[in-house]
């Protein structure tokens, strides 16, 4: 398998394992899985079918997916109840799978193994610079819930630590009351500071473009107004409305905006801080 195929295969395999899908025998480059009903609902868009199944109290057999990652993989071993399906980047199945993972993985609790463990709130945040184009940054932060120290770019570090889904038996967790509003507020302040420090030439360009476009519109409609006033006075009002609409469209499209969107949060108990680089401590805010 080439790299793309391999990484898709690996992602799908992990996803199906974590959602409890039953993996069936299949060639090594194919995934054949039987889906639990809740997963099936997320991976195939057929709400009316499920409405009917539930209304009629039906118990249909679970859906079996036979996912190929290479067009040349064999279909011969596909179970009769499934239809072989080629999975490539951007295909419908992958889009549904990502959407399902995003919904299921919005929150988590995780633990390091053994010893004394301290609580951290870990966030994944998407920052977007938007005008008529868009650029995104995926940032991650960890907030020490005792000291309110904030650590940036923590996900790579945390992925290197073997975190567990269950609390280890011999670990001692440091208990701390958590004020979620305060934690979120601190997160947003930190993000804001980071965002401010970035280069905003894109916004300056967008703002300049906006002004130019508005100026051009102004010239055009002013000349149109003059002309209409003399030749065709009853068309002045429609032109004024059209002008308002065009202005609103330009502002809608071009005005520079920054969007900050926290996407995920985890409560993680760690034996040591997730990095040396504490960015700020705003406990006194």
């Amino acid at each position: 398998m080439v790299e793309d195929e391999h990484s898709l295969f690996d992602y799908c395999e992990r996803y199906f394992r974590h959602v409890g899908a039953l993996q069936k025998p299949a060639p090594s480059d194919v995934l054949c899985v039987e889906l639990p009903r809740d997963v099936d609902k997320e991976l195939t868009d057929r709400p009316f079918y499920w409405m009917w199944v539930e209304a009629m109290n039906e118990t249909p057999a679970n859906t079996v997916l036979y996912l190929k990652f290479n067009p040349d993989s064999t279909d011969a071993e596909a179970p009769p109840e499934s239809k072989p399906e080629l999975v490539v980047p951007g295909c419908y199945r992958m889009l549904r799978l990502y959407a399902s993972a995003k919904a299921r993985g919005a929150f988590a609790a995780a633990y390091e193994t053994g010893g004394v463990l301290f609580p951290y709130a870990v966030f994944v945040v998407k920052v977007s610079f938007v005008s008529d184009r868009r650029m995104d940054f995926l940032e991650s932060y960890a907030i020490d819930l005792q000291t309110f120290q904030v650590y940036g770019d923590v996900i790579p570090e945390l992925l290197n630590r073997a975190l567990l889904d269950e609390r280890p038996q011999h670990a001692r967790l440091i208990a701390t009351p958590i004020d979620m509003d305060k934690v979120f507020s601190l997160l947003l302040r930190c993000v804001r500071l980071d965002v401010e420090a970035r280069d905003h030439q894109w916004a300056i360009d967008a703002r300049r473009r906006l002004e130019l476009e508005l100026g051009r519109l102004d010239d055009y409609y002013t000349s149109l107004h003059e002309q209409t006033r003399v030749i065709d006075p009853q068309h002045i009002l429609p032109h004024a409305a059209e002008r308002e609409l065009r202005i609103a469209e330009i502002v809608w499209r071009t005005e520079p905006k920054i969007e900050v969107r926290p996407l995920q949060m985890a409560l993680v108990y760690l034996g040591a801080p997730p990095g040396p680089n504490a960015t700020s401590a705003l406990a006194d805010m």
């Binding site: 992602y11 990502y98 299921r104 979120f184 476009e213 004024a240 409305a241 502002v251 985890a266």
Partner: protein, 618 residues
Amino acid sequence: MRLAEETSGRRATAGLRPPACNRQPATAGLQPPACNRRPATADQQPLALILLTSNYFGSEGVLYTYHEHTELRTLLTEHGNMPVGKWSMFTLAYEAHQQSVSESFDELTCLGVLPGLVPFDHQIETARRVINDLHGRALLADEVGLGKTIEAGLVLKEYLLRGLVKKALILVPASLVLQWTRELGEKFAIPAFAQRNEWSWTTYDVLVASIDTTKREPHRSQVLSQDWDLLIVDEAHKLKNSKTRNWQIVNQLRKKYLLLVTATPVQNDMRELYNLINLLRPGQLGSQEAFRSAHVSSKRVPKDPRALRSAISEVMVRNRRLDGGVEFTERFVEALQVKLSPEEQGLYDAVTEFIRDEYVRRKERQRSVLSLITLQREICSSSYAAMCTLETMQRDKHLTTVELARLRELHHQAESVPNYTKVNRVIELVREIDDKVILFTEYRATQDFLLYMLQQSNIRTVIYRGGYKRGKKDWMKDLFEHRAQVLIATEAGGEGINLQFCNQVINFDLPWNPMRIEQRIGRVHRLGQTRPVHIRNFSTAGTIEEYMVTLLQDKIRMFELIIGELDVILGAKAFEDDLMRTFMESHDDAEVRARLSALSKRVQMRESSAGETCHGRG
């Protein structure tokens, strides 16, 4: 920059909106984007969105607005304020989010996620230019067959992935609704829906609709009441006239991005180009008066091609076949001359004589000559087609007794033609080809007649015409692909459909409009065609058709040239008018030949100067 002292804690139940929303429109019909529009973000979670907005100020005023989305906080509250879930799924979600991040303003992120398509370089470059340089409002004016649909699809996909477009409307001729819907799904994995009823407008995010349906109530009100992140109009030459309802509804729609797609942005008059560009960027070419004085020398000739090219380059992209980069299969053109039977020739001569007499008389009396023009062209197509018009003309109340008698005589003569030489030759040819054939005619009467004759000869044939509803057109196309050998199409029916699985075109008659000829050929000679394309033009010896084929094929060499150029060079309607005048006002064959020769020279001379005007890459 500093944080504004007053941070707005305004909560809205819907998403971003343009600040101009507070402005009140001066009159109904045209409204600024609605304040309660949904956010244009494809990747947001399906939650009630709470938005906090604060303004940041640069030294020169507001630089950007700052929006903090707090869906996650809301969701956490719903989960009892405690994050619960598995770390392993958390990491999978993180990887999924990484997939939907646009790491750069400039790069096309969609190229890595196109399951059913490998775009050509010029298509990628066009999409990039539309997004980065033209800021999402553009006229895509590639020549026929270069994949404008793909370019528009790439732009749509990129905007969807970047979360800049959520709600998109694609307006197309009715015959292309299913084709567009299917292509977006298969090539781009975009879940597009064909508009079916008035609920479709609010139900689906990516909607493909017929422009004719859209402009009628109750659809018109529905579509105007919404904000569209992206509007794509295919066959946008139908918006050339700002007084039409087509143009007006596109002008009234509230849209962020706009793509107009047409191979023929100018057909008859430079005002058409002005009207199209005014939809994209009002004022780009100044007021109409300013445009006329700065750019228009005569109806179709610009004052300074370079200046005009520069002005439109900010809104238009035009790729030409000649620019290279795309390998097209070969195109073989052949003229097939048919000699009429004595009865057919007699009918042709009688009808032509009648038309010449009537043309002069009607011109003198300032009466319409339209039916005469139609008749002249039909008699070249088939005597059956002419027969129908002769019958209709007899109902004209202004006819004198003599004229009526003459028309009856001609009609009777047409009825008594014993055989049809041209049709018989077509049947022979279709048998010789022994492969799928598209047979084009301009006239429905000829189409019906050909269908009948081919079926009588046991040749499986389907017809395709403008009046069919889109489901029927789709069905006919499928029948042709899988069951029939011949598709008899009119241009109106064939507009925009892709028939690359066929490589044989027969022009039973030729339209006098060069663009329509290219539209015909473009159905098969386009990207995706793997075999050489064979075009056969029928011409009947000793008729106007013979001159026509000679002029178009040999003199103007339009089948060798890329005819996409000729719309600019000729002006399609003007070309038709010139031809008609040539035929009607000439007294004999020698004069016809001399005038046609002058016409072709004029065309060749214009080629170089006008070619400069619109052929720059944008």
